[in-house]
Amino acid sequence: MSATLFVRLAPWIFTIALLVLWEAAVRVLAIPVFFLPPPTVVAGAFVEFWPAIWKNSLWTLYTTVVGFLLAIGFGLALGLAVGWSRFVYAGIYPILIGFNAVPKVAVVPILVLWFGIGTVPAVITAFLISFFPIVVNVATGLATIEPELEDVLKALGASKLDIMRKVGIPRALPYFFGSLKVAITLAFVGSVISESVASNVGIGNMMLQAQAQFQVPLVFAGLVVLAVEGIAMYAIMAWIERRMTGWAHRSGLAQG
């Protein structure tokens, strides 16, 4: 087997090894199923509860993606504004940091107060938790234009808009697409938190109910679903990033 093929198979080898280890540990140590179910039992839960898992996982995916899209729109706009103007930057940055420091689970009750339980708080929580990295990254990309290059263009009479269009925004794109990978992962955190606290649909809610009924394998099935959805969305973002900003990944290390 060639070395590169080995590297390509590595994720599968490690995942399977982890599952085997998990299964073996549970059986050898005789850990009760209601404490830590082995992978085979979790797989059984998938078969048994598939309709519910399918419905709820789609719902969670939907709320997450809607919140994430809102975060992209808002984060991009705010990031451009913050990167554009030193005044906006100075004014808004402390507020943003304070906002980001607030645990979003503490915001959910307020959202429930305003919008009732269900989808809306989940979407908003996903949005609130995921827009911050987008703002920071877009603003950083804009703020780190080389001053010499700015001088070259300004001496030609370039306007601020010219400099942003020709240099700032293309420059910020790798930061932006890089931040999407972080943001989508956070968006799942947001939607699941909200579903667990204040919803009657979604994976978060399903897991909470399963826990209450002591169906521990189903709880773990929920975790697996979230992991799979998270990995899939992350992979999509990574793919988009590579497609859009190939020039920023020119080192062999990043490509190999």
Binding site: E146, E148, L149, D151, V152, L153, K154, A155, L156, G157, A158, D162, K166, V167, P170, R171, T245, W247, A248, R250
Partner: protein
């Protein structure tokens, strides 16, 4: 026939004009088509001089005139190159050259229509600095010296009447640097463009310039002016002759004194 004139210029960075001026009582005059070099101890305000002459900064006192006009906005007839090539990594070398044309009139409104003509022009310019065929390469596929050549081309593409160079060869190895001296020498000879070269390399100044200005320590002003009249075209061999060494020694003595005075 002065093309660039600074007269009694004082410049202070920061709001309200408080603090130590970067330059004070700075006066110099560069003729059209002349190759001028500005040398001085580090931090003497050489870069401020660049910004004043291109209309990126305006003096607190005194006047700056370029091409017969008092500078009150970016001059647009200047091209600039710096120590860092600052090429855009997402553009090919050719597209990097076209960047100034997308900004400055009248090219800005023509470039879409006459793209082919502009590309041909960019390729000719690249060929003239020994970069024929490199237009479709990305900057990171070029060596440091090649990137610096491309950066020079970008400074020249809109046919400026003034070329401002701020230590453009500072980051290159000695051999590449001398190669690029010759590139600049030939560009200047071919186009008759006015050049102001800011540098701390005295050999570079003496080899390239018609006239060398020595600046004092901060706040910068001109403390010596030296005309260099070696016949052109100059060969690199001239840098190993006794008269050349004398010029370099003389400049060095000025700068040593300027550093001590600081």
């Amino acid at each position: 026939m002065a093309f660039v004139t600074l007269d009694g210029v004082r410049h202070v960075y920061g709001r309200g004009g408080v603090g130590l001026p970067a330059v004070e009582g700075l006066s110099l005059s560069v003729k059209e088509g002349e190759f001028a070099a500005v040398v001085g101890p580090s931090g003497c305000g050489k870069s401020t001089l660049m910004k004043l002459a291109t209309g990126l900064q305006f003096p607190a006192a005194g006047t700056v005139t370029v091409g017969g006009e008092k500078v009150s906005r970016p001059v647009k007839i200047a091209g600039m190159a710096f120590q860092a090539p600052t090429l855009l990594p997402w553009r090919t070398t050719r597209e990097n050259l076209l960047l100034p044309l997308e900004i400055v009139e009248p090219h800005r409104s023509r470039i879409r229509r006459d793209k082919a003509a502009y590309i041909a022009k960019a390729e000719r310019l690249l060929a003239s600095v020994g970069l024929a065929g490199a237009g479709s390469k990305f900057p990171w596929e070029l060596s440091g010296g090649m990137q610096q050549r491309a950066s020079l081309c970008r400074a020249l593409i809109h046919e400026p009447r003034l070329l401002m160079l701020d230590e453009p060869f500072g980051a290159l190895d000695a051999f590449t640097r001398e190669e690029l001296w010759c590139v600049i020498r030939d560009l200047h000879a071919a186009s008759g463009i006015t050049v102001i070269l800011v540098t701390h390399d005295l050999r570079e100044a003496a080899f390239l310039a018609d006239r060398i200005f020595v600046m004092s320590a901060r706040p910068g002003r001109i403390i010596a002016e030296r005309v260099v009249d070696f016949p052109r075209p100059r060969d690199l061999e001239v840098t190993y002759t006794a008269p050349f060494q004398d010029v370099v020694h003389e400049l060095r003595a000025h700068i040593v004194r300027a550093r001590q005075a600081a």
